[in-house]
């Protein structure tokens, strides 16, 4: 693979190659990993960088994702800058250690190639893996494109290590759709990358024997809640840090990143709220309908944890109807996590918009422009009648023919 020296030179990279390259440019101290589809090639390519001496990183090949995250915790507690990558069952196996990473305030950066959870077994994209970890105390950044996944890695390092935050960050990109698609990427230079992320000096380090600290001590009734309060305050502060780091990134490299992306939302009457790559497909539908004079728009959350609730409420307050599209089902009988969050966010809004939730694209089922158009049609008819017909529904899907295939299955 060609390595760009010139920042204006474009490269054709898959999401995974771009992420691995960003990680190479960050040059972390430790990278424990256990590869899993569809994020395998992040680990594969990064380990090549290690073998080639392109980074100074200690690569730790472990025997499971539980051990991968445990090694991340140990290394981060020792004061190292730590990264890893995983997907699906791998993230699920990290579960208990994810909470330890955030509770210990360790600024680990993890890349997740979003993939459905078993059962049934499936290797393709949905968000059930990271959405299951939404309460784990990690900061969540969702990426629409290969470029954004690449850019988010650098920003994640800064956000995680910010003294007001000190929390782990997961950068999410859609499995296969983004991890395995080659797109145009404008990389940043190696030196610029180093300048941007800076040197990491952990506040506390297990290796600093002059200033010994205890990590992972027990905290019972009284102190436990103090720790949790501090953690809660820290993740709230992450929101401002995400804005600040995004601004600095834009000043240096010209690409704009905020808490979320608003697309043709200013004068919109109805809008779709949707994460990651499917937002791009939805934007095509927005443009088509705008050309026909329909006042439609889109909001794509980039920062999902912490939830920028006040800002999302402000952005959606003028709308009449909102559809939240989740690429996962919470199995609560009440829609997906994005729907529940946005519905809750709108509670305080005066003359709040009507809202409904749609679940789409589970296990990689294709979400096309026509599917987005159908959602907008529902939004526009709800605008007309002033009444939500069905609060929650599966789309990209015919419940009458749940096992049908498209006939081109070869």
């Amino acid at each position: 693979m060609a390595i760009a020296r010139n920042k204006r030179e474009q490269m054709g990279l898959t999401g995974n190659s771009a992420v691995a390259m960003a990680m190479k440019q960050v040059n972390p101290d430790v990278f424990p990993a256990y590869p899993i589809t569809p994020s395998t090639t992040v680990v594969e390519e990064f380990s090549s960088y290690v073998a080639d001496g392109a980074v100074d990183t200690e690569f730790i090949a472990v025997e499971s994702e539980h051990s991968a995250m445990s090694a991340c915790v140990g290394a981060a507690a020792a004061g190292a800058r730590v990264m890893t990558a995983t997907s699906s069952q791998g993230l699920a196996l990290m579960w208990e250690v994810l909470y330890i990473a955030s509770g210990l305030r360790l600024p680990i950066v993890l890349c997740d190639g979003n993939r459905a959870l078993s059962s049934p077994i499936n290797i393709h994209c949905d968000h059930s893996d990271t959405m299951g970890a939404r309460d784990s105390g990690w900061i969540h950044l969702y990426s629409e494109t290969v470029q954004e996944a690449y850019d988010n890695i650098f920003q994640a390092v800064r956000i995680a290590e910010h003294p007001d935050v000190m929390l782990p960050v997961m950068v999410c990109l859609d499995g296969f759709i983004t991890t395995h698609a080659i797109e145009n990427v404008t990389p940043i230079g190696d030196e610029e990358a180093q300048e941007f992320v800076g040197e990491y000096k952990a506040k506390n380090s297990l290796l600093d024997t002059d200033n010994p600290v205890t990590v992972g001590a027990m905290a019972l009734q009284e102190p436990y809640m103090v720790f949790k309060y501090q953690q809660s305050e820290a993740i709230k502060k992450a929101k401002d840090v995400v804005i600040e780091v995004g601004k600095e990134f834009e000043e240096k490299f010209g690409r704009e990143y905020g808490l979320f992306e608003s697309y043709r939302l200013e004068d919109a009457e109805v809008a779709v709220v949707i994460l990651s790559s499917a937002a791009g497909t939805t934007k095509v539908a927005v443009d088509e309908l705008r050309a026909r004079g329909k006042k439609v728009g889109l909001l794509r959350p980039r920062l999902f944890r912490p939830l920028p609730h006040a800002e999302i409420a402000e952005a959606l307050k003028g709308l009449k109807v909102v559809a939240c599209l989740d690429r996962t089902d919470s199995m609560s009988g009440f829609g997906g996590p994005l729907f529940n969050d946005v519905r809750s966010v709108l509670y305080e809004v005066e003359n709040r918009p009507l809202i409904f939730g749609r679940i789409f694209g589970l296990g990689g089922r294709d979400y096309q422009v026509k599917d987005a158009l159908a959602v907008f049609e529902e939004l526009l008819s709800t605008l007309e009648t002033g009444k939500v017909d069905e609060l929650i529904k599966y789309i990209t899907f015919d419940p009458e023919a749940p096992l049908s295939v498209d006939g081109s299955g070869c």
Partner: protein, 196 residues
């Protein structure tokens, strides 16, 4: 708005169509276009039918769904056409006037008939990519001759861009002998495509 070219590759695992889509994407990108190149992954085993896709555009590409209405269909393995599932979705969704390029020793007329495109405005071309690849690189690898043929019959990308990108980005990986064999295969695919 959102005007772009869509390409669909059909082949069998190990015939190099994922690499072909990658090469095409990179070549178009070097020529200044916005691109996507992505495979459709399923159960991976040698000989299984696989698809790969390209989008090429002058403006940034925002849709991230499968290519369902390609203007260009490249078929690396003609045995996909016949068989149990006749046609096997090779023409499914393709534009009426789509360009088909097939790896086969047969004539474009025969292939037009096999694909069920007689009397339709589709443009059908053939190139004996298997034969070319065996002569040029010593093994059956129909992807690079097909790329050469694509460069000849369409305006998606000029042959020089494909060759330049290939030499620039793959010499380190493959070594000179494989590179030059493939360059020759591209050139011959370009020169020997039938149906013009």
């Amino acid at each position: 708005m959102d005007k772009h070219t869509e390409v669909r590759w059909h082949g069998r695992a190990q015939q190099g169509i994922v690499t072909a889509a990658k090469l095409l994407g990179e070549s178009c990108m070097q020529a200044g276009a916005y691109v996507q190149a992505f495979p459709e992954f399923g159960p991976e085993r040698m000989g299984a039918p696989v698809k790969a896709f390209n989008r090429v555009s002058e403006t940034p590409i925002r849709r991230h769904c499968q290519v369902t209405n390609p203007g260009y269909v490249l078929i690396a393995d003609p045995t996909l056409i016949s068989g149990v599932d006749s046609g096997c979705g090779l023409t499914a969704g393709a534009n009426e006037d789509a360009v088909y390029i097939i790896n086969t020793a047969k004539s474009p007329e025969e292939m037009r008939s096999e694909l069920g495109l007689v009397g339709k405005p589709a443009r059908v071309y053939t190139v004996d990519a298997a034969h070319i690849s065996i002569e040029c690189i010593g093994r059956m690898m129909p992807n690079t001759p097909l790329l050469g043929a694509l460069a000849r019959v369409t305006e998606v990308v000029p042959l020089e861009s494909v060759i330049e990108n290939f030499r620039k980005n793959y010499t380190k990986k493959f070594g000179d002998k494989v590179i030059e064999g493939n360059v020759k295969a591209m050139q011959r695919g370009h020169d020997e495509v039938k149906g013009l």
